[in-house]
Symmetry: C3
Subunit: 651 residues, 3 copies
């Protein structure tokens, strides 16, 4: 189903009726409103202006549109900031961040939390049972503009309390956990502990990791406050939050537990550009459409976070304003993205935004309509999707052959001590994910500790910290091919090298011992020999004692590179794409599932027995469709930036 | 005529007489002194040391040298700063900038303004009618070292007042003008408004634009204070200020209105290097002489700002100290630059500085003399110019075939929301300007709203904000070819997209509608087809509905690229040099003026019926001189880094 | 002899005995302990925990290990910082640096100095005469993490006092010395002087130079305090400090005067990477072994600073954690480095660290043992060295053919006004040093003013400030080839251009005059013609009047490039490697000493009549060994990363 993000406060109530009418024509069912509108709702403390919002909801009800109401807590108004400047966040350099854009608040501020409770209660009470309101979005893009980690005095106090709870009031536990004997960092009480910024040398990594956890928890608590209130006053409505792509500053799985489903904001062009830049790549063949796997990674991640359910809450529908440069999308891209989201299980794709706003920060961010209300290119593609949707039932759940274990703490561990310039968890994960997708496999992205039952194969690009109670048991129970990447099991819960040496607890299932590791410079290319082929190894390599594991493959200079015990594999290096394609192809074959490599830029995704094929290239590409399949959309010739859908009758 | 910058306070009065004598021999008529000398004039509050300055002026009078007296306000002395630390500026990051170099003051500080009035009054009273004093320079290089925009509490208050005046005390006007409904940025009073720095996300662009205008106005007011006092106490003397090259942080046209003429400081090697770096160019064929068009752009700009009159107040005469690297100029370059300045209408070329100072920050900045008083290479070239000048009368005014409309607000609009990495107003302007110069055309650089009468062609690289009363009327009245570049008319006065869509008010004369725009990455090269040729398009492209305009040319993939209605053209892209050369050649021809491309590095400039040809290359280049011309200097073979001058008798 | 760095406080006393036993087996004689252990010694003010340290020393004594005791002053504990937050340092941007890593103190803090005196006295009294304690290390790596130069209010006061002493209480002397008349920077009292940070434009270079000297002196005083106390309470024990590589923020010669010998911390892989990066080089053929000359430069420098005596206090023995990327060393490298150190005169090579610590900041920094106590690769190589050492007597002093004058003030002068992007003193020095080493020459690195007697040749890559009493006299007395590089003699003691023009006082021995200088961009390659060959000149060039000196060589475009008067040479440019090899070869030959170029990556070093040959390449290399030599280790075929040692009987 289709939705749209809309800001009645920008246009005046007089235009809402017409806009709602046009939305209906376009097939829009859901309209998200209200996030960012605090100053319109409560222009000064205690004085409320409900008129515009009352009328908007009334019209929505009348016209049969379903409203997703956003809480306006991402933008506390000026009067509130002036009353309580202590809610402003402080950055890593110690600078207070000021009013004048958005997200100018500290998550742990108790003052701000009270204000949030107050405004959310008032709004939830007023509209919680309104027939037009079908659900809620809390706040907006938690953490955007680097706002998860605040370094204000309030955070310091809250962090001390958090530590006191974690270490059960015993400072010696913390001293031991952090190894503070090193460099005379020992503390005598929790009150002595500082925030880990502005130190002459690197802060203690255990200190940082606990601080990152604390900061992540603050977001969770902040969101939890809102959820609790909304649940009370708005029974039967869903609650979600719109996450971002490639953002790991808080644990999205944990936060999602409080939500009915996850949502995310899909801006393929900018996300692809930013991701490739992070990797140091200078060419971008997908610059007008986005890399299919960078996009679908988030679909699969948030489907996992949402326990099978997710929305695209904001879908790019034209050129945006925030990337290093801002191309307009290729013709067909908006339709392609929409179908791709549905193929990966999205329940709703909601475009951002209805109409380009001619003022303020995002005036160069396009909408379905231009500022003068003329339909943009994207508009017509949405229309086409709407028509196509009428004839297709895609409500089957996504079932995946492969699970990929993705872990926020591992992202933090890698970022705290990368040990080398190119060492980035997201890059490593993407290599695994993209190779699986290049073989046409459906992938579930799951947190450590999830049940792995029913998957043909499980890949763990890296899991730095293995917690017995959570992950290890699920790994032990799993009998299919289970592949661990480098640095797995390399740290204890408090960022120490495990006493039993890496891979720590994983030794139970893959009995090897990592003796030392190295990060490689751009000039260092090592060579892996496997199955008669040579593969380049860059970025990372480990020196591993196989102990009783089998050495499946070696580096050209001798030492083992791939290790195996029964169904479990350990890769002692940063794998390249070609190797992963070969490895996964072979392992899948061994499970009895023959896969084939898809052409560059072509992707397959299955939802029940419906198969989708996407062409993210500017060329027509011919694909093979199993005989007897029943075509639903398109055919075996995929036009540029287009797709085909069929039903596999033989499955 | 020739001048020099001199610092008697550095050398002691005993050396001044000898120095003045050598200046006379070299043909120097004007000597600028005094700027930066506050601590020598007033070593402590209220105690004055006039002796050295009295004697310097006395000697100047005796020896027939004309003094340009600088006000010393760029360098408040330590005692003043210690009395009033609140005059120190605050940078964007919130850091107070300290005493110890120069420009350590905030333009809006009322305390500092009082001090400025006091010292300028005292100096102007004392020397205003001195026979040696022929003119004044206010302060020095306003804005150097990024000092126009200050973020101190005084500026915040002053900005609030400025806004209150602009929006007539009506905060709702401001809220509407800035679109503060977006992201709950609404204000209830002017006292609530912050300075636009240290926000988590980008500040509101309207907020920024008004702040940039405010900051520009502060410079204007600061200068105005000084001008008013000097006018009172120094009747009949001129007042000027020495501007910089490529600097757009305040509106030089507006400030110049208070001056008798504009001056600027010409450092060709560094300016060329900095400009090419900004453009991302790595090669610099002009590294020992400077790019002729980068130099003459400022000549033409400040001739415009000075309403036909300008000086070069500081002319590089050897290697300097401040560029990323500092070559010495090619032999001949100092002479070449001097003649180039005269060709573009400079009244005086004043070298920086008389003698290299062996101490403090600029000790590696050369002068006409080395620290031991030995003549530098530049010295001999100045001598040559002096001899050559004796036989040449170049006092005719510069008349130009083409006007280029240059606008400071457009520079601010581009910098506030560039929308892409290479999108820079100065780069765009330079493309237009340099193509015109490459065709041998004289160019006037004028502000929007200037009369365009008498020009064969008018180019507007971009004019983001079109103000009806100013610019639009002059465009309407103009009947020659009038070419607008991209983003023209793209914003309202308060940085909104015009309700009628871009190009906004320009639609009256060029009825097209810009539907969407994109900025291009370095890998994106689009193709323009025009007149049987293909041209690359980089950086920027627009999607334009021609409405009733003629589509003159299209992009290779279909949409219109150049639009025309009668005499008015709109270019929906960032044009490349080759295209602009072809376009301007063709349009000039249509006006009956045949132009020819000059060899790379050769430039022609006319002053009355005197024609100058300059060779900025290390090779001899032969040029064509119209038959019957009367040679004044050189001949048709231009030696490396040299020139020829002739009188066109047939004109 | 061999040593190791050990942290009993990390492991608990119960493991010390076993560790000491294994050290003995490995041939370790010296164990450095205690630096960083303040919080373990004094967990709260006045409460001491001596037990672990008492027992450690007792065990050492019992087992015959010699202890080097570190003072723990690099890491003031939290309780001290909380009592006296004013000891925290302030960085150039004005930010207070916080507790949580190390080196969080200001060198000039009188409060901290009192604390340092207190703790050092207590420790020195307790252990000063302990039989196991043979020596002391003060603090740890002074200046690491950019901590020499602090910008706190205490430093401001102390700097004012320092200036008052230097300028004998006469502010006018300072005004003259700094040239404060420039830009009205004049001071009326020492109390007015600020620290040279946060100025809008560059601070006065004389101000900076004096501030750098002041900061260097603070380190000296801080160290002096400790030395004085240790001398009193620990008679007969040596005192040293572990310096870093390529670090010039304080004068290591001056500080070393208070020490018995110098030590340094040798991390070849990281140092090579950082040095090449500084030079803009992208290839690193020595990435797994380090550049031999980058390593031995520090050996030779600290042998000079230590007046013939030095240790390697920390020797990399495996992969480390702090470089841009962290490779493991090639097999053989640890042995190679150890022998290289001995060849250059090291008395002890002490590995860092005994066992990799599994927690805190340096957990990815390897040791001789892995965290689980398994021997690392390095361990076995140390074992090999220990065996080899048994048969070799290398106690002869290092005698060098060439002296290279290295000067910390010149490093400061270059960094304060580099005048161009690639202009770096260490790069210049390295060019001279590495060319000498490439010819198989032993090099002594000496401060200006050292006796130059007995050297066949003396090179001075640059000596910006020539002080009559110190350096000039030694140059005058020296009669061998004496080669000065560019910028020599270019500044007075207070950073002014000398009144007699550069090379200032050096004119007495090399009568030339530098008229002007230029720094070259990457695109500017000038050409030197010498001895029938052409050499590229980059980075720097000078325009020199030979006066009465001989012009030995010229630039291709005419002016002189190499000048000579009798035995003294002046190079008016930044020389390239090939030229320096040719020059030094020729000049050495003229002294009667024939040298030959060594293969790339091969180095020779002599200690008495023992000759060492090192192969830093991955290939076997054959070398020539003089007939009649007596082989001690290896032969003329040097295996990869290996060495040979022989006795020259004919010498």
């Amino acid at each position: 189903m289709l939705g749209v993000c809309y800001y009645p406060e920008h246009w005046g109530i007089e235009r809402v009726e017409e806009d709602f009418g046009r939305m209906k024509e376009l097939g829009i069912e859901y309209v998200r409103i209200g996030e960012f509108a605090w100053s319109r709702i409560e222009p000064e403390r205690g004085k409320f202006n409900w008129d515009w919002l009352d009328k908007t909801l009334e019209l929505a009800e009348k016209m049969g549109l379903k409203i997703v109401l956003g809480t306006p807590t991402a933008t506390p108004p000026k009067w509130l900031v002036d009353e309580h400047p202590e809610i402003l966040p402080v950055d890593k350099d110690g600078r207070v961040k000021n009013f004048g854009s958005r997200r100018h608040y500290c998550f742990s501020s108790s003052v701000y939390r009270e204000e949030v409770k107050r405004i959310v209660t008032i709004i939830a009470k007023r509209y919680g049972k309104h027939p037009a309101v079908v659900g809620w979005q809390t706040d907006n893009e938690y953490g955007c503009h680097d706002t998860v980690r605040c370094y204000c005095p309030r955070c310091k106090k809250a962090f001390q309390k958090w530590l006191e709870r974690k270490y059960e009031g015993d400072i010696e536990k913390l001293n031991k956990a952090w190894g503070t004997v090193f460099w005379s960092q020992e503390y005598r009480s929790f009150e002595e502990i500082e925030l880990p910024n502005l130190t002459p040398a690197d802060p203690n990594p255990s200190h940082l990791l606990d601080y990152y956890r604390f900061a992540s928890d603050q977001v969770m608590e902040f969101n939890g406050l809102q959820v609790e209130i909304i649940r009370e006053y708005s029974p039967g409505r869903f609650i979600t939050h719109n996450f971002m792509s490639g953002f790991t500053d808080f644990d999205h799985y944990k936060l999602s537990k409080d939500l009915d489903f996850a949502s995310w904001d899909n801006y393929p062009l900018g996300h692809t550009l930013v991701f490739l830049k992070m990797r140091g790549e200078t060419k971008n063949p997908f610059d007008r459409v986005g890399h299919p796997d960078i996009i679908s990674f988030s679909h699969d991640l948030y489907r996992g976070a949402g326990r099978g359910r997710f929305w695209v809450m904001e879908q790019q529908a034209g050129p945006v304003n925030w990337a290093p440069y801002n191309l307009w999308p290729a013709r067909g891209a908006v339709r392609l993205w929409t179908w791709q989201a549905f193929a990966h299980g999205a329940e709703v794709v909601s475009y951002f935004r209805w109409r380009q706003v001619p003022f303020a920060q995002e005036q160069m961010h396009s909408g379905l309509l231009a500022p003068d209300s003329a339909p943009s290119f994207g508009y017509h593609e949405v229309k086409q999707v709407f028509e196509e949707l009428k004839n297709i039932d895609i409500n089957e759940p996504v079932k995946s052959e492969v699970a990929l274990v993705f872990d926020y703490e591992t992202a933090w561990v890698f970022s705290i001590q990368p040990h080398g310039e190119g060492v980035n968890y997201l890059d490593l994960v993407f290599r695994f994910y993209s190779a699986l997708r290049g073989l046409g496999l459906n992938v579930d992205i799951v947190p450590p500790g999830s049940s792995l039952e029913g998957y043909r194969m499980v890949v763990v690009p890296s899991l730095a910290i293995v917690k017995e109670e959570e992950a290890l048991e699920t790994f032990k129970r799993y009998s299919g091919p289970l592949i661990f990447g480098p640095r797995s099991g390399s740290k204890t819960e408090t960022f120490q090298i495990p006493p039993e040496m890496p891979p720590g607890l994983l030794k139970e299932i893959i009995p090897v011992e990592v003796k030392r590791v190295e990060s490689l410079g751009t000039g260092n290319v090592e060579v892996l020999l496997w199955d008669g082929k040579k593969y380049p190894v860059t970025i990372w390599r480990e020196d591993v004692d196989p102990t009783i594991a089998e050495v499946v493959a070696r580096f050209e200079d001798g030492p083992g590179a791939i290790f195996r015990k029964e169904n479990v594999y350990y890769l002692a290096f940063w794998p390249d794409r070609e190797f992963l394609l070969d490895l996964f192809e072979k392992l899948m074959k061994e499970t009895g599932h023959v896969v084939r490599r898809l052409p560059e830029g072509v992707r397959i995704q299955k939802r029940g027995d419906i198969v989708f094929a996407f062409n993210f290239t500017p060329e027509e590409i011919e694909i093979e469709i199993p005989e007897g399949s029943q075509m639903i959309l398109g055919d075996h010739k995929l036009p540029p930036y287009s797709l085909a859908i069929w039903k596999e009758t033989g499955r």
